[in-house]
Amino acid sequence: MKILMLGWEYPPHISGGLGTACEGLTTALAERDIEIDFLVPRLFGEEDAPHMQILGAASAEPIAETPTPTPARTQGQGPPSAPDPLSQLVAAEPALATDPIFTAAAQAAGAEVAATGKTGLNTIRVPAMLKPYLDQKTYKELIASGALDKTAMARILAAEISHPLPGPPGQMTGLEHAHVPGADFTYSDPSSGGAHYGDDLFSEVARYAMSATRRVQGRQYDLVHAHDWMTFPAGVEIARRAGAPLLVHVHSLEYDRAGHGADRNIVSVEHQGLEAATRVIAVSYYTRNLINQVHGTPLDKISVVHNGVYTRETVEAYTEQRSSKGPVVLFLGRVTFQKGPEYFVQAAARVLEHVPDAVFVMAGSGDMLPRMKAMVEELGITKSFRFPGFVRGAELERTFSTADVYVMPSVSEPFGIAPLEAMSYDRPVIVSKQSGVSEVLRNALKVDFWDVDKMASQIVALLELPELRGVIVERAREEIRHIHWDAAAETLIPVYQSILRG
């Protein structure tokens, strides 16, 4: 069976969980003799995917190339006239300095500035876009707060958005079967200001659809498998042209990320893909129901394939290194609406009445971080809170290892891999019931994200009852070994087969 998979990113250059999920899934599928062409907007050359053919949509070469030497992008090589908007931004919000999304954006902007200076607009050097997870609100709020003036922001963003596809703009109307609302090809001058990030993302989506279509023209596939809304237009276009069945895989919905503040254009692209698809894959029953509620897709058209994790040895140690005396309760993730940070803060205030020396760590950055800091101050619990910003690498390991409890209070979480990571560090976890991962976990405490009293009670219990912690950790260690990508592939392949049988 030969399939075309449409992705948006692939490790190591990833901005969220989607790339990691694609790596795990394709590896397990390939072991089961599924032949895969995997298309991403562009390749960085560091992708390690010997199990399949990985293709950059914008490239003419079929396999991962050696990295193109990146033009130096020291500040000195930027346009001399520009005040350094980046420094301004970081000065206004220090947490951004360690935010991977932001730094990726900033680097991309720098790279573009350099590239424009040297080779014009023919080189595509940045990711097609900074992803589904990039939070537009972060930037909008920064502008609104006056921390950054609009033109400086526009310059940063315009730098990212000024990458046309190879070929003249005239070719950009090539989509016959897919429509991308909000895609705007009229801008061409990055210095004209007024760049709207959102418009640009849609343009990138449309561009990806067109270049992907061109890239695979003439190839034969049994099935087209598209991951998340950014690849749906490409999937629809390619599947229609090739007469192949389309399977769309929903890792998250716009509703998950934004709730009722959902971008209607994104919802519309999602809808188009769901309608055109022969079959839909959801990463959880939670997501399956949400797709049904938000888009009206019939439940019997949606199959559930739970994500897996890469198992690894559990990590000991670090516990002596903790800096606080009291027990540590950890939130680790983007500090955004979707992740429910305010429920963590509210639960913390209640826990402190019972466990006064508890320490709450909110690790991560995002648009709600300033509000969370203000909330902690209003509640008078600043002394019990730490905000280390985004953590990675050894610091991430230390953060997990020194926590006594990990809490994921997400408002809407299609799957949620972080609790599994915490479990691999032998940490007991509390997960919201509004998450896909809660469906596959027995050895975690579960709570409705809004039920802060119960969340607090669970935290207190985990801190006060060593027997509870002991039993959970011991059983969870065994449990996560069974949540792997092989199981996902075993569930997915029969879905493929049933589609091919018609």
């Binding site: 209640r350 009445e353 019972h354 027995r442 405490l445 579960k446 009293d453 119960k454 607090a456 009670s457 669970q458 207190v460 219990a461 006060e464 009852l465 027997e467 509870l468 002991g470 039993v471 959970i472 059983r475």
Partner: protein, 400 residues
Amino acid sequence: MPSVCFYFEVHQPYRLKPYGALQVGRDHDYFDEKLNAEVLRKVANTCYLPANEAMLRMIERTDGRFRASYALTGVVIEQMKLYAPEVLDSFVRLAKTGSVELIAETYYHTLAALYDKDEYRDQIEMEMKLIESEFGQVPRVFRNTELIYNDEIGQLIADEGFNAMIIEGADDVLDWRSPNFVYRVAGRDMKLLVKNYKLSDDIAFRFSNKDWSDYPLTAEKFAGWIHGRSGAGDVVNLFMDYETFGEHQWKETGIFDFLEQLPDLLFTHPQWDILTPSQVVDRYPALGELPCQRTVSWADEARDVSAWQGNAMQQRALAEIYSLGSAVRRRNNSHLLALWRRLQTSDHFYYMATKSNFDAAVHDYFSPYEGPYDAFIHYMNVMKDLNLSVLATAEKQIQL
């Protein structure tokens, strides 16, 4: 002349309400009255009332040759009085037929046999008084909570003066012996009636299981299996939860038809009859001693006590509750004593079990909570409040 002996267990615990850490020190009302009332009324309608009617009909139709025995815990009788008094009336009617024997157990369905012998004896005595006052019978046969048994428990019950005790027919305890004979407690002159778990579980667990090779189980087939034991034993003991009829096995499975057809079909073989446990004791001699060093029960595949004390959470909770014994008794407060005893009911610990596979499914089926961890959290929060608020306050009052 071989016999069949039916014994049914009737019990409902006082389930704890979801009791969070934030309630400690503020809320001294521990039980989920609404849920407990709901469950009792539901089971009354699905099982107790229709099953009792079926039993009455069977007794009338066979001129009293159909017989059965029941153990009703004190806590289920209390709840019947509170939430569905007609159920208790219907059991009293059954008891008055002369074909139904009441047997004894502990009032609170406790695990005290393993932790606090004085408490254990007190609860047996309470139950004896209750059964006599409600049904006008003085039980001669005893069953321990969940058929938990070892030599020591058997000897204690013998010393309490019972004629017989009902136990699980675990393979390793029976060894080469058949469950279809009467045995004797090691070192005492008290008889043991051993559950035939194969035939009992065919009804209680497998009746509606479509994956079972003998599905569907008809009364003809089952009576045939019993008759096949002719000459190979004195008594086939069919012991199970009464809720098997209509609750664990829904009415739609045909369980009531099966039950009502069974006596007539059993009687088609002229040698077989149906006896109550006391009649079995009076008719059949003990074949020999049945020593039992390990503690057995009728729960889970292991048929041991791991269903209640298998993990560290359960062990902690049990240690907590039984450590309060002397403090509670010192208060000499009947309300507090009853509260402590309700918290001893084995179901609380059963909900905390972390078993896997089939056992887990059974534990989940019975649990009112989302899982073992919630069960443990609620229980320990209640214990904390009991210690902090109730016991500490009582201490102060005594000092005053």
